[in-house]
């Protein structure tokens, strides 16, 4: 029995190390639960709606929950990202339409410094509200791993559609227009 003690300890230590490694790798994986729910025809509640995020260029804070009752086009972007630059005019154009229909685009900067984000907002003539997610807590709860990503949130605060790459106006019209006719 005592002869098995040392090999047993070594095996247990190796097992513990493998578990730590597996846990570490698994926790790095992307969360695709939103897509899985949408594939089942279920709109999942948007996560972390009460998390107060700093408004870009201001000391104020804003929560996604504050937009309840509106259709929200939540766009995660960064100033250094070329696809984000390409879709910015589409989103600004959409904002002008949405503002008349009780809806809004909400920009969330991710992996970007505030001065670059502000310069981007100025260059692209963005008029919709933009908040910053400094440590990525908010966007990671949506399964975001990069930019740009866009989430369409209905008037009840549920995610109705996702695009994890550059959007186009055709997709926006297709997913947003039916939601505008819905009531909270």
């Amino acid at each position: 029995m005592r002869r098995l003690l040392l090999p047993g300890l070594v095996v247990a230590a190796a097992g513990a190390l493998l578990w730590v490694l597996a846990f570490g790798v698994a926790s790095q994986g992307a969360d695709t639960s939103i897509e899985a729910s949408l594939a089942r025809g279920v709109r999942p509640p948007a996560p972390n709606q009460s998390l107060a995020l700093p408004v870009l260029g201001s000391n104020a804070r804003e929560r996604l929950a504050a937009f309840r009752g509106k259709v929200v086009v939540l766009n995660v972007f960064a100033s250094w990202c070329d696809p984000c630059k390409a879709e910015a005019p589409i989103l600004e154009q959409e904002q002008r339409k949405l503002a008349r229909s009780g809806a809004t685009v909400l920009g969330v900067t991710y992996l970007d410094n505030s001065s670059d984000s502000q310069a981007f907002v100025r260059q692209e003539h963005i008029t919709y509200p933009v908040v910053r997610d400094v440590d990525g807590t908010f966007v990671r709860s949506f399964g975001t791993t990069g930019v740009p990503e866009t989430f369409i949130i209905d008037r009840s605060g549920r995610v109705a559609a996702v695009r994890r790459y550059q959007i186009d106006s055709g997709w926006l019209n297709q997913v947003v227009t039916p939601l505008l006719r819905e009531h909270a």
């Binding site: 190390l17 570490g24 960064a78 250094w80």
Partner: protein, 153 residues
């Protein structure tokens, strides 16, 4: 005595020189130094080796802060404020990241304890095996006795 005195003088000189160096103004931060200690947060690799657009943006941010005369710790704090704690090469010591700091010394400690316990036993066993007289079983002993009896008889 003179040799000891000279040695002491050299030691005192060396110590005073290093103290003077330490008390001098904090050296200017350099991009190369900071790049080695921070991450490109989008590509999850050290900034020093990354050439992605996000890394270039981060580098420009660091250069601007260096130009303002900020020190390395100040720049690192500014980077955390802009990009979150993931920007630091060394992860913060809480949650799962704690394993990075706890596991290596724990493994080393366990290894030392195992060696401390097992090495004396192995050595004792080896010593005993070297000094012990081999014992013959009765059948072999009888055969040896018979063989010897033939030669001596």
């Amino acid at each position: 005595m003179t040799r000891v005195g000279a040695l002491l003088a050299v030691l005192i000189l060396a110590l005073s020189a290093s103290a003077a160096g330490a008390s001098a103004a904090t050296p200017r931060a350099s991009l190369t130094d900071i790049e080695n200690d921070v991450m490109c947060v989008a590509c999850r690799e050290p900034l020093a080796v990354s050439q992605s657009p996000q890394a270039n943006s981060e580098r420009a941010f660091i250069k601007a802060l260096i130009a303002q005369g900020q020190t390395k710790p100040e720049i690192e704090r500014a980077l955390v404020a802009q990009y979150g704690p993931a920007v630091l090469g060394k992860p913060p010591a809480h949650g799962f990241n704690l394993t990075v700091y706890v596991l290596p010394p724990a493994i080393l400690l366990v290894g030392i304890i195992v060696l401390f316990v097992t090495l004396p036993r192995w050595r004792a066993r080896e010593r005993a095996a070297r000094t012990a007289t081999p014992r013959l079983d009765p059948a072999d002993a009888r055969r040896v006795e018979e063989d010897l009896a033939q030669f001596t008889g």
